[in-house]
Subunit: 354 residues, 2 copies
Amino acid sequence: MSDESRRDFALSCPLPLSEYPRVQLAHGGGGRLSQILIEKLFLGAYGNPALRQLHDGAVLATGGGRLALSTDSFVVRPLFFPGGDIGSLAVHGTVNDVAMCGARPLAIAAGFILEEGFPMEDLWRIAESMRDAAAAAGVPVVTGDTKVVDRGKGDGVYVNTTGIGWVAEGVEISPQRARPGDAVLVSGEIATHGIAIMSVREGLEFETALETDSAPLNGMVERILAAGGDGVHVLRDPTRGGVASALNEIAGQAKVGMRLEEGSLPVREEVRGACEILGFDPLYVANEGKCLAIVAPEAADAVLAAMKADPHGREATVIGTVVQDHPGRVYLRSSIGGLRIVDMLSGEQLPRIC
Amino acid sequence: MSDESRRDFALSCPLPLSEYPRVQLAHGGGGRLSQILIEKLFLGAYGNPALRQLHDGAVLATGGGRLALSTDSFVVRPLFFPGGDIGSLAVHGTVNDVAMCGARPLAIAAGFILEEGFPMEDLWRIAESMRDAAAAAGVPVVTGDTKVVDRGKGDGVYVNTTGIGWVAEGVEISPQRARPGDAVLVSGEIATHGIAIMSVREGLEFETALETDSAPLNGMVERILAAGGDGVHVLRDPTRGGVASALNEIAGQAKVGMRLEEGSLPVREEVRGACEILGFDPLYVANEGKCLAIVAPEAADAVLAAMKADPHGREATVIGTVVQDHPGRVYLRSSIGGLRIVDMLSGEQLPRIC
């Protein structure tokens, strides 16, 4: 490219390149910089109605019904961690993203980017773990692809999983549907996955083993939809960027406010302790087996009961309310009554957590 | 893991770990070692009827019809090359894999693994190129994911694309359907993509610019199916491993032999020359915008005419025949009448060609 055409070209980019000349780790962190990258650069390039929904998956109307499609690349390190590994995480993450579209996952495609020299035995462990996770979720891996890159150009293995699923008639799950008065529910204790990973990296020890909460949530979503019907407005698994970033995204898209009650946020004691040691706020730490549900007030009790009836939702609870005030903002009411803004994660907190 | 459980574990792997203790570049090359990895390790882990078809995509029967799903990760280097870049390649590759299932591509999901420090401007160029390729193919990018890995743990950008599509009623495309008497057609000159990439890497110069043949083939597949109907048995885009590896795979799966006529293989003059300089056999060099079709003899003329009527198929030609002899083997008859075995690519010829 000539210098001139390069300049013209750069001018067409809706992301200000002088401000963001290079990719930073935080562009993958699930917070503000991720949002800017996606909304400016990717939507700028190929925005279309399905993509513009900015859900974790797309719902497509087809002749034969509505189809959900979701993709995720997994770059977690270490590859093996307490309670899981990159393989089970890749299956759960994609099964859950499809389920969060209100869909019943149908099949998974798996793409591997392997680094030359990666131990074959570790690849087999990961493949076995994916198999077990897929079997537990009831969603088969039906196609795949393998690429190998030269030594030093990868990090052992990266896994991409893409899932498809069917959306039942009448189900309408979308961040835009959050409305004032809705209850905000979470399916259990937050921040466990992120802290389990960080504790391995940092060499923290706990009295009881701290394992990832990574789990398939498609069964729970079926219970939620059966119990709450049209009263189920939004579903979201708060992964990178945690509960805070997920709720900020939804508040921004639905143009509503949210108020969380600090005392109601479920956090395991060891996780809270580790957060204090590491300087993290549990609201920003990644989860992998948790679901946020935003539901009409009249459906809240039934949905909460449905979550609690699921093996992965026993600690489910109501953590807040959707409000009319301060649209686009999430507030937290502390135990002593003060209000503080819960902003979106800015910068990178926990690189390569999933 | 204890040493003992590690031993037990390794014993369960259907791939002999003592023989293949580590991933080699050739495990991603599309030849014999790729096949061993897929058939032993991945099928061993999560074989199911859809995956066992070993097509480049899966066809799934659903309540609302049959759905095709295909995934591919792209690790090509350089990222930008004559006639294309990793973005257009990622769109074409996946559109084509879905089309080779006999399906009409419906939507694409895109996953990016970015290396910290990657120039944002290059990312925008790639996103724009994907947009243009998606628009030209008529297949929207509807969902995506972005991860960032630390500097030195990637190679600028890796792109995964996954496509879904509908298979029309009555269409049955599968490698198992190749049968003696069928004609083997190719939609144009072979080996162009691989040589275009290699010539950049090796600094070769040609009188005319040698560009990749990367192109979307979904339109051509529609023409082929309309012209050949049930007589269209197998479709395949011969990417990594080239025409030789693709035909070997099909011959093995259908338990038939194949005989190719050397004189009929279309290869551009510059490509043939570059192959001689670089020591490559065009039959093993990757293509990105070419399609193999194996069709019943009575459908061959109509399918050939349909290919030629498409802008990407003007040089289409018949290159061989499916035979009963030597099942699982592909032979080439030379211009002077001798026969030689065309084996599957063994080892790695062109690393990171797509």
